[in-house]
Subunit: 271 residues, 2 copies
């Protein structure tokens, strides 16, 4: 029984395709684990919806993954992580891992100067999701938050190296440049796509925190804790499900995952 349990996949969901940066990090940190990915592309974005609606959607997303027999659930969506994590943990017996706590913990741990910047969607910044966690870990740290709404459409357009990306990043990050931060949390799953331009604007001395990397380390330690690390030596399988297929899905997925993705299946969720 336990043998089969170990070979079950890890489930990962998000409101959209930003999740793919997290999938990439998990696949790279845990190459023998199989992953079932669900992107709720029909109901994206979650960031502008009420908490009740986000909780309802997140429960449906997680239920879909549970039906696929997952051994753990990664909530690779900052909005759902900040709003629905307690409800998800209460509803399911498998470990439920959000992206905010791991990202906040890594920032608190790696900050050398105690001045941490956080960039995210307007919803994440208005909720102070990262700031609360970081200050909860160490109240002496200083946290500066800025919303960067155009970063998501820029990443989805595949313009991570376009001249406009640099000008937009300069505009958004200007305030943080003045704050003399030493660490910057990429508080949105889309932002690692823009890491190069963000690093260029902020300078080499600022350490960028990719929540996907932090999260895959937590996934690993959770699987170790419950004794469900895969015994396989082969590369894990990847299955992709979405609630709607945007016309540019394959193109964007290639940019996000940095590899070709297998067939994507469209499924009906909620309704």
């Amino acid at each position: 029984m336990n043998f089969m349990e170990k070979e079950k996949p890890i489930g990962v969901f998000d409101s959209g395709i930003g999740v793919l940066t997290v999938v990439k990090r998990i696949a790279s940190a845990l190459p023998n684990e199989s992953i079932v990915y669900f992107g709720d592309t029909a109901r994206v974005p979650y960031g502008s919806k009420s908490n009740e609606t986000v909780i309802e959607y997140a429960m449906q997303d997680a239920q879909f993954l549970m039906k696929k027999g997952v051994k753990a659930i990664v909530v690779a969506c900052n909005t759902a992580s900040s709003v629905a994590l307690d409800e998800l943990k209460a509803a399911f017996t498998v470990p439920v891992i959000g992206v905010i706590e791991p990202g906040a913990a890594m920032a608190a741990k790696l900050s050398t100067g105690g001045r941490i910047g956080v960039i995210g969607t307007r919803a994440t910044v208005n909720n102070h999701a990262y700031a609360k966690k970081i200050l909860g870990l160490n109240s002496k740290l200083e946290v500066f938050e800025t919303a960067c709404p155009l970063f998501v459409p820029l990443a989805e357009e595949g313009w991570h190296e376009h001249p406009s990306a640099y000008i937009i990043a300069q505009e958004y990050l200007h305030e943080l440049q003045m704050k003399d931060i030493d660490t910057l949390v990429l508080g949105c799953t889309h932002y690692p796509i823009l890491a190069k331009v963000i690093q260029k604007v902020m300078g080499d001395k600022v350490k960028l925190i990719d929540s996907g990397i932090a999260t895959s380390e937590v996934v690993r330690s959770e699987l170790e804790r419950i004794g469900l690390v895969s015994n396989s030596n082969a590369l894990g399988r990847m299955s992709f499900y979405v609630s709607d297929i945007p016309s540019t899905f394959q193109k964007i997925a290639r940019i996000f995952l940095e590899r070709e993705i297998p067939d994507v299946q469209k499924i009906l969720v909620g309704s």
Copy 2:
């Protein structure tokens, strides 16, 4: 009875706040008409959803307006206009007016060189909604379509005069510049916000078509045809309803409408 019928408001709906550019045009062309506006901001965007879903949502939006006693319905959403107009016309007894036919007719009428560009969201461009209507009116015209996905978030961010807007517009419009067009349809209700930068990139010889202006002329002639033009000499009332209130709603609304807007009420639609 007919006297009261004339003083009923015009209903206008859209998936988001782009509708406000159309409301502005109707209010300016028909200042004595009252307007009830509904923005389905909780379920925006429609452009990435299936036709069945867009039809279902559009019917709910129109039903909400009918309950407010409107004498005509303007579908100020390009996606809903191209997908749901027939269903809406069949379902309701009041005139239902979309934005695509008026915009296409104005472009066909005003084009001097017979070469018309159309810019819109990816959904509108992929449906060839404007091209079909324009070529249906005059098959000798040539139509060139380009999607400009970043224009909507740019307009919603209020960055219509930001240097990045010019760089992004240059990138998107480059192909159309090569086509020697004489007329350019702004095929998305957000785009009039960016008219200045679009005109600058395309040059003064290219005539921009604002579907909102074209649509308000059709609304006027429809009301005349059915004898329901308001007799009032006072400024019409404006009522705003949305399905969710984004934190930046007032700021964006000010940019779009170019005036302060009264109280906005949040209502529940569908569900």
